[in-house]
Amino acid sequence: MDTMSQPTRYLLLISADEDLAPEIVSDEGLHRFHEWFADLERRGVLRAHEGLHPSSTATTVRVRDGEVLRTDGPFMETKDQVGGFALIECAGLDEAVEIAAGHPAARFGQVEIRPVR
């Protein structure tokens, strides 16, 4: 028995190499995604979920010495970029890991699980 478990909210940051984007919109990829989504609805854990436009459309803003600086592109120029996120509320990290592992992008990218304050 797990006496201390109370629902925890997690942000799942789904990231991958953007060149592999076709992978996720392939028939098989979409099928897997729909399965994943249906599973989340069955579990009743989904609080929010969105997919993002590619990082080339991003603008990064910094304020330095009172001046607003805009940069074209994401805050980190890495090969893998965040392509979507999901906010879930579930029993604990083990369930969050199970959910994250079911996302199709986990097969070629990764999912970072961050507990929400």
């Binding site: 201390m4 029993a91 507990p115």
Partner: protein, 413 residues
């Protein structure tokens, strides 16, 4: 009863009860720091009152009750967590619950604590440290010394791990059946890692760090006790005890490593070997073999051979073949190559070492293994070259002394 007797009683209770008390308090409050602090308070209270009132009949129950009451007080004072208070009050305030803790009952809480410490979402080094702190009661300073890191570093590591457990919602539980085999493997892996670090220190002056092997043996005993139906837990305990039984003969007076064939077998701990072999038999009776049982079988082949030449090397080769089915790693293949050399001659062994060598670049025991096989094959010049290479990468002073001695012997010929 004099003070020394009381102190001995408290020390014994600490060894037996610390992990149990911490595990119970975490289960009831979910607060790891509170659990450790209140367990420590209970032992401090014992040192204060037992000399006056005598050692209670059931020290464990006394300590658990004291620690729970302390936790209750603290939470009341902090006016914290109504849920935690309810959970604690349900057990600590009922007179019937005081001292009725079954001393040998199912140790669910310690088992949950063990699996939680060894959760794969925590860094390996944090897993070991956390298990030592919460289950065996080693202090942060002691753990830091054992791993040769500054105390502040170890303290930070422990704080970070506990924070992650709390904030990231790592469940305090024995994992469900579908995850159990993998998670049990992780628990055994942590104990094995701890023992190996103590048995062949990867740094430092000594060849061995006995404080690590001692704690690993304690944890292995606990795991075997908590998982009586898991033959691999028994197998691991048997393996560690077989290694430990000949630990005293592995280091010479000069601190140099003494290889298996030169060890004084008369000084091996026979009672310990018999006990370990008995454990191993009980594990094998379950007919669910695994890598720890196989390694224990290999260790037993060495332990029961009266003289080095009585070692059943062909059988060891076959056991390594089986082990490779579970752990097909280059290191296991290297060890198998040594067994082949002993069974079929150094040339056969060297051929196999060559086959696996590309995958072992940078592994310190590769040149040392090659050197020993070349020496047995009578290829002195090649052996000397490899001993020099091995010396350059040896992990600790004990190994370096051994390698230097071999090299000197070759140079003297």
């Amino acid at each position: 009863m004099n003070d020394a007797d009381v102190e001995a009683a408290v020390a014994a209770a600490f060894r037996d009860e610390w992990g149990r008390i911490v595990a119970t308090l975490i289960a009831r409050t979910g607060d790891w720091d509170l659990a450790e602090e209140c367990a420590a308070d209970a032992f401090a209270a014992a040192l204060e009152t037992w000399p006056r009132d005598g050692v209670p009949d059931r020290p464990g129950a006394w300590l658990t009750t004291t620690a729970r009451r302390r936790a209750l007080d603290r939470l009341r004072r902090a006016k914290a967590g109504a849920v935690k208070l309810r959970l604690l009050a349900a057990t600590a305030d009922e007179p019937a619950a005081l001292g009725t803790e079954p001393p040998d009952g199912p140790d669910d809480d310690r088992l949950r604590l063990l699996y939680t410490c060894c959760h794969p979402a925590l860094a390996k080094e944090a897993q070991v440290a956390l298990a030592l702190r919460t289950l065996t009661g080693l202090t942060t300073a002691e753990i830091a010394r054992a791993f040769l890191v500054p105390e502040a570093t170890m303290a930070k590591r422990l704080v970070r791990a506990k924070r992650k457990i709390r904030v990231a919602g790592i469940p305090y539980r024995v994992p469900p059946p579908d995850q159990l085999p993998a998670r049990t493997g992780a628990v055994l892996g942590v104990v094995y890692l701890l023992f190996n670090e103590g048995y062949g220190a990867t740094s430092g002056d000594g060849l061995m760090r006995p404080e690590l092997t001692r704690e690993a043996l304690r944890l292995a005993g606990l795991v075997a006790e908590l998982l009586p139906d898991e033959p691999e837990a028994l197998g691991l305990l048997a393996l560690l005890r077989l290694h430990d039984a000949r630990a005293a003969t592995r280091v010479g007076a000069d601190g140099a490593l003494v290889p298996l064939e030169e060890q004084d077998r008369g000084r091996w701990d026979r009672a310990e070997i018999d006990a370990a072999v008995d454990l191993l038999r009980r594990a094998l009776d379950r007919e669910r073999p695994g890598p720890y049982q196989l390694q224990a079988l290999i260790a037993a082949c060495h332990a029961v051979a009266a003289r080095p030449e009585d070692t059943d090397w062909p059988r060891i080769v076959r056991l390594y073949d089986q082990l490779l089915e579970y752990t097909p790693t280059p290191v296991v293949r290297l060890n198998r190559a040594v067994a082949v050399a002993m069974a079929d001659g150094p040339a056969a062994g060297l051929a196999q070492v060559d086959a696996v060598a590309p995958e072992l670049a940078g592994y310190p025991l590769l040149p040392a293994t090659r050197a020993d096989l070349l020496r047995r094959a009578g290829r002195a010049d090649d052996a000397a070259t490899q001993y020099r290479a091995a010396l350059a990468v040896a992990a600790n002073a004990g190994e370096r002394r051994y390698l230097a001695r071999r090299l000197a012997e070759l140079d003297d010929r």
